[in-house]
């Protein structure tokens, strides 16, 4: 009789610890230590991406990017299929994590908006290096708006099943032109 009681006790303790740590992990997004930011300057070329940040309830432009500016950042690249394209596609762009790092964004939620005002949110904490990228080339060519361009957040869907969820699919925003970092 003693053994089952001990087992139950052990299971209960484990469950309690699990529940407690789970609660702890429920995130209260840390306030971004924004600090003083230099005013964003407009690039020479056509702006393909505007990054905003909400500071003290006000939207401030954090950065403007034209395509060369993006392309100046380290180039990420992978091949994958997507459910929206036919056949294997080779994508080139900026790793989202590196992109955010370059902006000094380490926390909060990334809100991406497309030309057609489609909008998604990605918690910054869930963005990992080698994961999503801001693609600007597909199969070596720039993308037009007619073909989900000019920027598309793509995940390496084939590389990992965790990138095959509806959440990930919904976050695969194309024709993206705005980013906002929310606390």
């Amino acid at each position: 009789m003693k053994a089952p009681i001990a087992a139950f006790g052990l299971v209960a303790v484990i469950l309690a610890i699990w529940a407690f740590t789970g609660m702890n992990r429920s995130p209260l997004p840390p306030v971004a230590d924004a600090g003083p930011l230099a005013p964003a300057t407009l690039p020479k070329g056509e702006v393909v991406l505007t990054v905003n940040q909400e500071i003290n309830g006000q939207q401030q432009v954090l950065a403007y990017f034209d395509l060369p500016a993006l392309q100046a950042l380290p180039i990420a690249s992978f091949e994958t299929t997507t459910m929206w394209t036919h056949g294997l596609q080779k994508f080139e762009g900026v790793d989202l994590k590196i992109f955010l790092d370059s902006l000094g964004v380490a926390a909060g939620t990334l809100i991406a908006t497309a030309v057609n005002d489609y909008r998604i949110e990605i918690p910054v904490a869930e963005i990992e290096q080698g994961g999503p990228m801001i693609a600007y080339h597909v199969n070596g060519s720039p993308m037009s708006v007619r073909d989900k361009g000019p920027l598309w957040i793509v995940y390496p869907y084939d590389a990992n099943p965790k990138y095959q969820t509806e959440v990930v699919f919904s976050r695969s925003i194309w024709q993206m032109n705005r980013l906002e970092v929310a606390p």
Binding site: T81, N116, K148, Q164, S172
Partner: protein, 880 residues
């Protein structure tokens, strides 16, 4: 402590097999189900993943977005047309967005079926046409585009319903798809659930069976441990060494007793080869070599070896049994050195006792033999003394001496009989004999005693006459004589009778003889020991009867040596019945009925009343005898009879004398130093000496018929038993003188008639025609012995008796009183012998024989001749 190999405790092989099969089946089923569940689960997972991934970019959103974006484009178009905005960028952007959306729908793999749906083909074609038509204008210059706006707007208006249809239809199709997918998933889930239930059931069953097996195993193990403990206890407390070996003969167990017996500790012994360890060197060969092929290993007695090297005998029993590790052999070894020693001691004790018994028997034989020789001297001298002139007082004394001497001789003979019986010599071969005659003869010999006590003495054959059987006449006669004389001794009034009957026991015919008396009986406490030696029941002062107490012991020995049994039934004051049970074997008519050795007492009693009655011509006689007293007695007797005597003290001397001188007669002692009587006779007969053909009379104390035959075969003519009696001596002379003076050398073989020891037979044999009525000189001899005055008186009495007896016997015969007739005839025959009435005596003897053979008719037919001979005899005697 002995550690048993665990294998000793067996599970039932059947039970364990069944369990094993059941367990295997359960395991196989379990694995099968687990695989099935696993497979299904994987399938379900894949389907779930499909649900998660493949079609999951929120189709409805995408499809409705198509219409939304188309409408945005349309609005932008209308705004431009209405002139509300001069900017064409918005229009162009929405067009691009719409194109992008349509590309996704037509190119994306998940919308594939939608495009190929036949109902949808028209709508898609319409959209494609529109895009193809409008695209150049959108991409064209602003002016050209503006000019085309109304036209594009009109077409866009038409296209609205197509886009709407695509959206609606798409939603319908995908709903259906998703339904069926969900259905598949739920079906798979259902199957998984079912299998899971099955699996759980099996698990439950397995748990149940495991619990059962566990319980059974627990019980079994409890039993096993109990059995083990019991076995262990048995092994440890066993007095025998217990050794268990495997197939290879290596020791698996070695108990405490084994350690004690062999000297090895358990640790030393385990694992060693048993045969090497505990067997003596010479025993390490089969059959003890472990031989598993043989079925029954059985028991052996072998020599074992202790650790010290000492070899000792053991009893070794082995049994083969099965253990899970294979066949094993269990040996029980018992140290039997003590037993063997005890057996040896016992054997030695028995041998010693037997040797003592033999020594005693030998001593008795020698003693009695030695006693007979001086007795011979005493009785012989007494006999001679009686022949001299004595006062009446002296006659009385000599009679007492004679009777006492006869009694002593009787006892000595009894003892001698016992020793002879011990050596199995008295019975002799079984020969055909007439039992009825034999019994009557025995009763006859005891008649005088019975009559003296006024007892009736009779033979009652209950099953009729027994007739001829195979048996030992001497043995039977002796037994019956002992029993009958005993019965007479202890019976004061009433009767003594012998009964015979036949019975069948266990399929064999048995002869039953009973001697019944109406005497004092024997107390139950004494009945068991009366057949022992030297038992006289009444050993108080007033002993009723004299005796050595050997009579029944002799009877028992004889009966047992004849393969029979003897016993008695008795009741105090009512009488006793001694019974004899013998194997019965019928025989053809007996050729002869050997006579018993007459007891000396009888002989003395029956001795003719006077002294020597034969005085033939003076003979030259040689006595060869080593014993001086015997020689003296015989010499005195012979000289008294008027013969001249030469003496030789041993065989060699006798042979020398006989070869150098011619003797008329030679008396030859049988047992002599240097050269015994038989050898001397053979030498004499074989030689060419002067006395080579002289008649030789054997002198012997060996009173056995077989011996007699041997003496006669060696060339002797007659046999005389010691101690010597004058009557017997006279008969020898009578006999020898009836034969040709000198038996021819070429036919030294004596006839049976030459055997003096059986007087009746000897007298009966010669043909009566040749016999003289009166032997010449017989009466003269009588006159010499009796004195001339008394002879006529004697003759007168003899004649009177004859005249009275002959008619009486004839009458008795006619009336069937055979026994009475026989008595008369016998009595008269004795008297006839005394007076030398040879013809009469022979005739009477023949009649007596016929009567003894229960043939009164034969006796009657002889009566006329008897009458004639009697007349002649009476005439001859009256003439004297």
């Amino acid at each position: 402590m002995v550690n048993l190999p665990f294998s000793w405790v067996n599970f039932g092989p059947k039970d364990s097999t069944r369990r094993l099969v059941a367990g295997l089946a359960a395991i196989v089923l379990f694995i099968f189900l687990a695989i099935a569940i696993g497979t299904l689960a994987r399938q379900a997972l894949q389907q779930m993943r499909l649900l998660n991934t493949a079609n999951s970019d929120n189709l409805q959103w995408t499809l409705s977005q198509t219409e939304v974006e188309y409408l945005q484009f349309h609005i932008a178009l209308l705004q431009v047309q209405a002139g509300q905005t001069a900017d064409l960028d918005d229009l162009r952007r929405w067009f691009d967005i719409f194109v992008s959306r349509m590309n996704i729908i037509t190119q994306g793999p998940i919308y594939g079926h939608l495009v190929t749906e036949p109902q949808m083909a028209q709508e898609f074609a319409a959209v494609a046409d529109f895009i193809d038509d409008v695209l150049p204008q959108i991409d064209g210059a602003d002016l050209a585009l503006r000019a085309q706006i109304p036209k594009i707007a009109a077409r866009a208006q038409e296209l609205r319903k197509d886009v709407r249809n695509i959206t609606l239809e798409g939603i319908r199709v995908f709903s259906k798809m998703s339904d069926s997918q969900r259905h598949t998933v739920s079906e798979t889930m259902g199957r998984i659930a079912l299998l899971t239930v099955g699996l759980i059931l099996i698990l439950l069953m397995t748990v149940f069976f495991l619990a059962k097996i566990y319980r059974a195993a627990k019980v079994q193990s409890a039993e096993n441990s109990a059995t083990r403990e019991r076995l262990q206890a048995m092994l440890n407390t066993a007095l025998d060494a217990v050794l268990v070996v495997d197939r290879a003969g290596r020791l698996l167990a070695f108990n405490g007793a084994a350690t004690e017996i062999f000297g090895y500790t358990e640790a030393e012994a385990i694992g060693k080869k048993m045969t090497d360890l505990v067997l003596a060197q010479d025993q390490q060969k089969p059959p003890l070599q472990v031989n598993l092929g043989a079925g029954d290993l059985g028991r052996l007695q072998v020599n074992a070896k202790r650790k010290s090297g000492e070899v000792f005998p053991v009893e070794w029993s082995r049994a083969k049994t099965m253990s899970p590790e294979g066949e094993i052999i269990v040996s029980y070894v018992r140290d039997i050195s003590d037993r063997i020693r005890a057996e040896e001691r016992l054997t030695k004790a028995r041998d010693d006792a037997l040797a003592g018994e033999r020594a005693k028997a030998r001593f008795m034989a020698v003693m009695s033999h030695e006693m007979r020789t001086p007795l011979n001297g005493l009785l012989g001298s007494l006999d001679l003394l009686k022949a001299t002139k004595l006062t009446p007082k002296q006659v009385e004394f000599t009679n007492v001496m004679e009777k006492s001497g006869a009694m002593l001789l009787h006892h000595v003979n009894d003892v001698l009989d016992i020793s002879r019986l011990e050596s199995g010599r008295i019975i002799g071969d079984f020969v055909p004999l007439d039992l009825d005659v034999l019994i009557r003869e025995v009763l006859e010999s005891q008649k005088a005693l019975a009559q003296a006590k006024k007892l009736r003495l009779r033979y009652r054959p209950e099953a009729g006459a027994i007739g001829s059987i195979m048996g030992s006449a001497i043995g039977l006669r002796q037994v019956l004589l002992n029993l009958v004389s005993n019965a007479i001794k202890f019976t004061d009034r009433g009767l003594v009778e012998v009964q015979t009957s036949l019975a069948i026991m266990d399929g064999h015919q048995r002869l039953s003889l009973r001697v019944r008396d109406t005497g004092m009986g024997i107390a139950p406490g004494d009945q068991a020991r009366i057949f022992d030696d030297f038992v006289t029941l009444d050993s108080s002062f007033g002993r009723r009867a004299d005796g050595t107490g050997l009579g029944l012991g002799i009877a028992r020995r004889i009966v047992q040596s004849m393969g029979g049994a003897i016993g008695l039934v008795s009741e105090a004051n009512l009488g006793s019945t001694f019974w004899i049970d013998l194997p019965y074997e019928k025989a053809a008519k007996p050729t002869l009925t050997p006579r018993p050795r007459k007891t000396q007492a009888e002989n003395h009693m029956k001795q003719p009343g006077g002294s020597a009655y034969v005085k033939a011509a003076k003979l030259d006689i040689l006595i060869v005898e080593d014993n001086q007293i015997n020689r003296f007695i015989l010499r005195e007797m012979l000289i008294d009879m008027g013969h001249s005597v030469t003496e030789a003290s041993d065989g060699l001397m006798g042979v020398d004398l006989a070869q150098s001188r011619r003797f008329d007669l030679i008396f030859m002692d049988i047992s002599m130093p240097a050269l015994d009587g038989i050898a001397a006779t053979l030498r004499l007969r074989a030689g060419r000496g002067l006395s080579a053909s002289a008649p030789i009379v054997a002198l012997t104390a060996h009173a056995l018929p077989d011996d007699h035959a041997l003496f006669l075969a060696s060339g002797m003519n007659a046999v005389l038993n010691k101690p010597l009696e004058r009557a017997a001596l006279f008969r020898v002379f009578e006999e020898l003188l009836m034969w040709p003076k000198s038996p021819s050398k070429t036919s030294p073989k004596p006839s049976k008639s030459a055997r003096i020891s059986g007087p009746t037979k000897a007298m009966a044999a010669p043909p009566q025609e040749d016999l003289p009525i009166l032997r010449a000189g017989a009466l003269q001899e009588l006159a010499q012995v009796l004195g001339p005055d008394r002879l006529p008186q004697m003759i007168d009495r003899f004649l009177q008796e004859g005249h009275r007896t002959l008619p009486a016997s004839l009458k008795a015969l006619a009336q069937g009183h055979d026994s009475q007739a026989k008595d008369m005839i016998h009595s008269l025959a004795g008297a006839a012998a005394t007076f030398g009435a040879l013809a009469l005596q022979a005739q009477l003897a023949q009649m007596e024989t016929e009567l003894k053979r229960s043939n009164p008719a034969g006796a009657r037919t002889m009566h006329p001749d008897l009458a004639k001979i009697w007349a002649q005899t009476a005439e001859a005697m009256a003439g004297i």
